[in-house]
C-alpha cells in the first residue's frame, strides 16, 4: 500500500518531480530551453481561464491567433464572461466591478472607481466627450450588465466602458432633453437590451402625459424607436420629476412615481412591455450603478 498520508507524499513527490515541470516565463519563440507545459483542452482554456480575465487582457489576447479572436468576440463567450463576473462573490474582489461617478445630474466628467484594483478614480472618455470640457456634459440614463446608456451633446449612446465601444442611437421624435424619464435594461425573452424613453406632452387638464418609446439594441431590423403603450400615469406640470431614471430589477424597469400616486412604484416588464405597480418600500429602493464588465 502506498502513502497513507497525503501530506507526506506531497513533500516526497516535490523533490522528485518539481524540476521537470517548469513554466517558461521569458525568452523568444526560438528559445529551445523551454520545457513544455501540459496541454489544456480548448474548452478548459475558454470556459475556465479566459472567462476569468478582465476585458482589457482579453482585447490583447485577440492577437494570439484567429480562433481566439473570433472566440473572444463571440456573444456566447460574452455571456459566459458576464455570468462569471456577476457571480464572483468575494467581497474583496472588485476586478469585475466598477463604480461610475459623475457630479450631479449632468457633468462634464465621468470617473471610474474600484475597477481592476485601481485605488484611484480614473477619468473616462465617454462617447461624444468634449475634450475641452465644453458642451452640455453627460447624463447617465441607466446601466445594465456593464453597458451604459448615456446622453451627451443631445445624442443618446449605448456604451461599454470596458471595451470602449459605443453605438449612437437614432434620434427620438423630440430632442433628448425632452425625455422626461428613461430606463435601460435587459429583455431575457429575446436576449437583448432595451432603452425606454418617455416623451412628455402637456395636457391642460392632467398636466404631463407620457408617450413611451423603446429602442432594442441588437434585434431591431430598422434602427429606430418604436412606440409602445402610453405610461399609465401623468404628472402635475409644476411638480419636479425631471431626470427620473428607471431601476432595472427582475426583468422590469421601475420608476418611483410615489409622490404622485401615494406610494406607488410603476414598473414596465421589458419582455411583455406591460405596466404594473409595486407597493413602494422606498428604503429598499435605491439607485445604484455598479457595473459588471
Amino acid at each position: 500500500m502506498g502513502s497513507s498520508s497525503s501530506s507526506q507524499s506531497t513533500n516526497q513527490m516535490e523533490e522528485d518531480l518539481l524540476p521537470n515541470i517548469r513554466p517558461k516565463i521569458t525568452g523568444t519563440e526560438e528559445d529551445s530551453q523551454q520545457v513544455l507545459l501540459p496541454n489544456l483542452p480548448p474548452e478548459i482554456i475558454v470556459e475556465e481561464i479566459l472567462s476569468r480575465l478582465p476585458v482589457k487582457s482579453l482585447l490583447r489576447l485577440r492577437c494570439v491567433c484567429k480562433s481566439w479572436r473570433s472566440l473572444i468576440s463571440d456573444p456566447n463567450f460574452a455571456r459566459i464572461h458576464l455570468r462569471r463576473a456577476s457571480s464572483s462573490n468575494s467581497s474583496t474582489d472588485c476586478t469585475h466591478h466598477r463604480l461610475l461617478i459623475s457630479h450631479g445630474v449632468r457633468s462634464h466628467s465621468l470617473y471610474s472607481a474600484f475597477h481592476e484594483h485601481s485605488d484611484a478614480a480614473v477619468r473616462l472618455d465617454y462617447p461624444g466627450c468634449d475634450p475641452r470640457g465644453l458642451g452640455d456634459g453627460v447624463r447617465i440614463l441607466g446601466s445594465c450588465d456593464g453597458l451604459m446608456c448615456i446622453e451627451t451633446a443631445r445624442t443618446l449612446f449605448l456604451w461599454n466602458p470596458s471595451t470602449r465601444k459605443s453605438k449612437r442611437l437614432p434620434r427620438v421624435r423630440l430632442p433628448p432633453d425632452h425625455l422626461s424619464a428613461y430606463g435601460f435594461g435587459y429583455d431575457a425573452s429575446i436576449d437583448d437590451y432595451k432603452v425606454v424613453g418617455f416623451l412628455s406632452n402637456v395636457h391642460i387638464d392632467i398636466g404631463f402625459h407620457f408617450e413611451v418609446e423603446v429602442y432594442t439594441m441588437r434585434t431591431m431590423r430598422t434602427d429606430s424607436w418604436r412606440r409602445i403603450g402610453d405610461f399609465p400615469h401623468g404628472h402635475h406640470p409644476y411638480r419636479r420629476y425631471r431626470h427620473c431614471s428607471g431601476v432595472f430589477v427582475n426583468g422590469a424597469l421601475h420608476w418611483d412615481w410615489s409622490r404622485k400616486t401615494n406610494g406607488i412604484i410603476v414598473s414596465l416588464d421589458l419582455a411583455k412591455e406591460t405596466y404594473g405597480e409595486v407597493e413602494a418600500n422606498l428604503e429598499s429602493f435605491q439607485t445604484c450603478m455598479t457595473d459588471d464588465t
Binding site: 500500500m1 502506498g2 502513502s3 497513507s4 497525503s6 501530506s7 507524499s9 506531497t10 513527490m13 516535490e14 522528485d16 518531480l17 518539481l18 515541470i21 517548469r22 513554466p23 517558461k24 516565463i25 519563440e29 523551454q34 520545457v35 513544455l36 507545459l37 501540459p38 496541454n39 489544456l40 478548459i44 482554456i45 475556465e48 481561464i49 479566459l50 476569468r52 480575465l53 478582465p54 482589457k56 487582457s57 482585447l59 490583447r60 489576447l61 485577440r62 492577437c63 494570439v64 491567433c65 484567429k66 480562433s67 481566439w68 479572436r69 471595451t163 470602449r164
Partner: protein, 161 residues
Amino acid sequence: MASSIENNNEKLTLKSSDGEEFLVEKHVALQSTLLQNMLDSDCSSADVIPLPKIDARTLALVLGYCKKHADASSSKQGELNSFDSEFLKDMDMGALFNLVLAANFMEIKGLLDIAAQKIADTIKDKPHQEVREIFHVENDYTPEEEAAVREENRWAFEGFP
C-alpha cells in the same frame, strides 16, 4: 448521506498514472463528484481506483486540498480561504495546469475554481506573445493581420510589446 456517516472510517485506494497508490479516507474522497458517483453506484471501495490522467505529484496535491476541505467545518470559511491562497502561493504554471486538469477530471469544483483563477491572475498582465507560448497556440496571423487586430484596440496595448 446516512451511509457516508456510517462508513466514515472506510478508506479507498486511488492509483496515479505513474503507479503510486494513495489510501484515502472516504469522506475526503467525497470532495470529488467523480469519486462520489463511483461510490454511489456499484464500485466497491475495496477496489483500487485508477486515475490514469493524474500523476502522483498532482494527486498528492489534490488530496491535500480535499482533506483540508473535508475536515474543515463550514463555519471556517475564512480559514479555508487562507489555506487556499497558501496552497497555490508558490505553485508554478505546470503544477497549476495539472491541478486544473485533475480537478476538472475528478470534478472538484472548488479546486478547479481557485487553480483556474490563479492561472488567469498570472496571465492577465502578460503580453499576448507569452500567453501564446504558455497555451501552445500557433500564431496563424500574418504580421500585417496581427498588427491590424492590435490596432482595433490600441489602448489596451499601452505599455506592452
